[in-house]
């Protein structure tokens, strides 16, 4: 809408099909997502939007009976990589392509440990490095001021909106290039939802953001482009202008 720099392709799905057992969820989806864009995926419930997200970080591999065909290419560190290839390590992929789930899922640990967790997984032990990382991540997620005095409380004591921002902070702490959010505000009240929406608009300056949403208002507020996943097919939805005029 404003004058944007030339946008490179960040994510490319090439003829991606997905099925659980014999039941196809979507077939031969080919689409490109641009760098620094905030793309929103809409569509009827239960038709595979969450599954589509899981194809981007290969989390579908952890679900028994799930099968994906086709290729997924993501530009990481400036180079396009075929991330759907089994030789590309899934653990590395998931650190560069972070995911936030629909219902906040803080781990049963303190706030500090939640955000530090991904780094501990990678073997980072130094206390000061961890503290700095946690502070930066919580600040990026607009949560630092609210929790800086209670970092060592159980994360489950936070409110819903705070928990969701914690999950975003946790995902951001790894400095990912892409963030996937599956209906991130559907379990939150309006005020909390607005905070997160502003956060997402802020994030797209540094990352590529892909959001699944059910709310037309939210789509209107957030999206650069809107995609619709319906009856097994993904296509660019009505022009944004139509949303603006609703």
């Amino acid at each position: 809408m404003k004058g944007k720099p030339a946008m490179g392709v960040k994510i490319r799905l090439q003829k991606v099909s997905f099925r659980y057992g014999t039941r196809f969820v979507f077939q031969e989806v080919s689409v490109e997502f641009h760098e620094h864009e905030l793309a929103v995926i809409v569509g009827p419930s239960g038709q595979g939007k969450s599954t589509l997200l899981m194809c981007l970080n290969r989390l579908w591999e952890e679900i028994p009976g799930a099968r994906m065909e086709g290729e997924v290419w993501i530009t990481l560190d400036g180079r396009p990589r075929c991330v759907s290839d089994p030789s590309f390590p899934a653990t590395t992929l998931r650190r560069r392509v972070a995911m936030v789930f629909q219902t906040p899922n803080p781990l049963p640990m303190t706030i500090f440990n939640n955000v530090a967790f991904p780094h501990k997984l990678m073997g980072v032990r130094d206390r000061k490095t961890l503290e700095e990382t946690v502070r930066k991540a919580l600040a990026k997620a607009y949560l630092w001021d609210e929790v800086k005095d209670r970092l060592h409380e159980d994360a489950r004591h936070l409110s819903g909106g705070q928990q969701q921002r914690l999950c975003i902070a946790r995902a951001l702490s790894l400095d990912p290039e892409v963030v996937l959010l599956d209906e991130p505000t559907s379990s939150l009240d309006e005020k909390a939802a607005r905070v997160i929406e502003n956060l997402l608009l802020d994030l797209k300056r540094r990352l590529t953001v892909i959001v699944v949403s059910h709310s037309t208002d939210q789509v209107r507020r957030l999206a650069d482009r809107v995609f619709r996943l319906q009856e097994g097919r993904l296509f660019l939805d009505r022009p944004l202008a139509d949303y603006l005029s609703l």
Binding site: L59, T91, P108, L121, R170
Partner: protein
């Protein structure tokens, strides 16, 4: 709405059945307590020996249950020590690494193992000792470690099932969280899945302990005897509470001995029910926690 005749009859029948069950069990427990209560003195456990010296010194206890109590504790600890690590490993494998046909076949195998009558497991243990006796060392026979091994086999399938269902019962979002942050499977197990299943697994272990403590058929064939004193060595016979009770029922020679039998029954009942209630209360606490989190 006027209750129909059929409703009334059905209701009476159901209430009657519930009453029958409750009074049946109440009768059993009440009878044991009434006949065994007079025996509840220190001499039940220690006979003529002074308690302090019997426990911490080397004074042998005759006519007392202390050796049997020690024997039961020893065999249960050994059995659980053997079965829990094995059950934990197998349960984790089934929940996290096994798929498809392999998983099905293993599940069936463990269901069959769970259904094997305890006397058959005891018989297996006994024949195992015969084999070892012939081919390894004539010193080996029915003994403490053999009983512990067989009790371990007895409770192994229940432990496996407890671990497996604890892990598989975790909500999908919890199972995926660490993975979505770049953890690999073993890290996920270590930092998230196992810690979250601890309560359920603990319940399973406590129930297994109870099952080992009360079993008679297995130890009957694999090393329990009426008179052996305190458990001294892994390769010797031992006394146990449930065996004592069985033994007294057919071999008692005096009213005191019979009363001791009832006293032993009270102790065993207390142990079994106590463990069971602990497990039940942990299970209820899990329920509350699950509600609290979501």
């Amino acid at each position: 709405m006027k209750p129909s005749g059929r409703f009334f009859v059905l209701k009476i029948w159901a209430a009657g059945c519930a009453l029958a069950v409750v009074s049946g069990a109440g009768l059993v427990v009440g009878f044991v307590i009434r006949r065994g209560a007079p025996a509840l003195r220190p001499s039940l456990l220690f006979g003529a020996a002074p308690p302090w010296h019997a426990v911490f010194g080397n004074v042998p206890v005759f006519d007392g249950l202390w050796p049997a109590v020690l024997g039961t504790v020893s065999v249960v600890l050994l059995a659980v020590g053997f079965a829990v690590p094995l059950g934990l490993a197998a349960g984790i494998y089934l929940a996290e690494f096994a798929r498809g046909r392999t998983k099905q076949m293993l599940s069936v195998a463990f269901d069959i193992l769970a259904g094997i009558p305890s006397i058959v497991i005891g018989l297996f243990g006994f024949s195992l000792s015969l084999t070892l006796h012939r081919f390894v060392s004539p010193r080996i026979g029915p003994c403490l470690v053999l009983s512990a091994f067989c009790l371990g086999i007895l409770v192994l399938p229940y432990l496996i099932r407890a671990v497996q269902s604890a892990l598989e019962g975790l909500p999908l979002s919890l199972r995926l969280t660490a993975l979505s942050l770049g953890a690999h499977r073993v890290q996920n197990l270590r930092y998230v899945l196992l810690p979250s299943s601890l309560n359920a697994i603990a319940t399973g272990v406590i129930l297994a302990i109870g099952r080992c403590a009360e079993d008679t058929a297995v130890i009957l064939l694999t090393g329990a005897v009426a008179l052996a004193g305190k458990p001294r060595s892994l390769l010797e016979n031992f006394e146990a509470l449930p065996f004592y009770i069985y033994y007294v029922s057919s071999q008692y020679t005096s009213a005191e001995e019979l009363e001791r039998g009832f006293g032993a029954a009270i102790i065993l009942l207390a142990i079994s029910l106590g463990l069971y209630l602990i497990a039940l209360s942990i299970r209820h606490r899990i329920g509350r926690q699950a509600f609290y989190g979501r």
